[in-house]
Symmetry: C2
Subunit: 302 residues, 2 copies
Amino acid sequence: MKVVELSGGVGGARLARGLAAIENLDLTVIVNVGDDETIHGLSVSPDLDTVVYTLAGLEGPQGWGRRGDTFNFNDELGRLGSDNRFRLGDLDLALNVYRTDRLAAGEPLARITDNVRRRFGIVPLILPATENPIRTEVRVESGDWLSFQEYFVLRQHRDEVVDIRFSRAVESRPAPGTVDSINEADVVIVAPSNPPLSIWPILAVPGLREAVAAHPRVVAISPLFGGKALKGPADRVMRSLGLPAGNLGVAKAYQDVVDILVIDKGDAVDEALIDKMGVVVEDTLIKEASASTRLARAILGL
Amino acid sequence: MKVVELSGGVGGARLARGLAAIENLDLTVIVNVGDDETIHGLSVSPDLDTVVYTLAGLEGPQGWGRRGDTFNFNDELGRLGSDNRFRLGDLDLALNVYRTDRLAAGEPLARITDNVRRRFGIVPLILPATENPIRTEVRVESGDWLSFQEYFVLRQHRDEVVDIRFSRAVESRPAPGTVDSINEADVVIVAPSNPPLSIWPILAVPGLREAVAAHPRVVAISPLFGGKALKGPADRVMRSLGLPAGNLGVAKAYQDVVDILVIDKGDAVDEALIDKMGVVVEDTLIKEASASTRLARAILGL
């Protein structure tokens, strides 16, 4: 069985771990790169790395970064007067320096990521949505456009997001293998990631939205529980962007692209939601690997 | 009193520490950059950093790198399949990433180095010999030209050096402040560094050799003890390049540039040496800071 997952960071990585534990599953994870950033001259790809670390079983306790990482480099950068609030661990840094070095040598991001995957002993394919530098930017109430990392990490997603854009997405192209893997997949799963901030930048790549929309079996997992994101600003961002509250907002965010929405067992199935798409109720809490595998099996059994 | 020191790595840094401890001394250290290299895409300047770390009192037990550094980054690079034999510590890495980032932003090396100096609370000025990318390369018996780091770090200076060149030195220019500081100095001190490998690349910068040669009071400290370098390949390199053995070879290496050669108290003052330049005998072992200051005072008292 061929499965494609569209993934942001922590939630998507945890779902990928659940899917990867299922036998005879040919899994490809297509990962958001709208959060990518150049930090201290290094090409940082937070979501790609979160997926790599989680599938390798090496992720940090918050779901991102490396477990047991040290921050000697990052602390020392502070001595030099650099803004080191985007904290890069010493282990995590190796991957960022490696990627930056390979990109500068002309190696494409997908090939670099695939080499990293193999070096970490990971079986599922991990593809960036695009190799072009698209960037998620949000407009906040002051009217300013902020880069994703400025909004999310430096300002800790305190601001109300009144608009969102994916800079240079129009001229971007799907990374090699992404469209084919979607076309060949038995099911496309949209991870329980932040719909506007993590999944829209994937769908913003011309060719990817069309491939997903054309697929007959696209299942999205809502990131909301009782209308709230477990962590992160998904519910607030969706509301301030004018989407309906709760899972209806998720359904609206994925309109014309997703066929079935999986919502948590604690949430109500209202009629407005059923009007939009198929709705399935499951236990969608997947912090533990076993819960993730159980949910993955349930989705595949739909 | 204005003093300029021409410095390679460890020996030069230790002499600089001795000079820096003397009151009312206006010290400028002009540092070899022929060993500079791009490693993992990072601009590495081993001698500049050794001088910075030593003057900040933070150098490693071997004289280079950072005391108490960790190598989590470097070990992790190995997992990714990178050649990590040039070991970059996590603390040391901060300075290398900082420099690379600033250089990429168009900031000149001298200004970056000066900012680093101030951030580390160092009083003496530290200047790269040049801001241009000159590179020391050695030809070994096989006939191959090796980069300095390949010869020195990767092959651990095992090879016989039959020739030496300073790539792109002809088109290089002295870094801002170097020639003026030499012209204004009361004395120019050539550190007990490797003459061909550490001092020649400074003198290879057009304008620097002329300024030093024109200076009336240039004092060099021999790096040899009983004809041998304390560590490193200085004696072997000088011999294989056809220079006489012992301090006569040092005098020959500095011919037409240096006025007085300071040799160790254990070494003989032979006539051939006195023919070449003034010779002074001192205790030149300066591993300890106090010994370095004592030698520095003796030189200034000449």
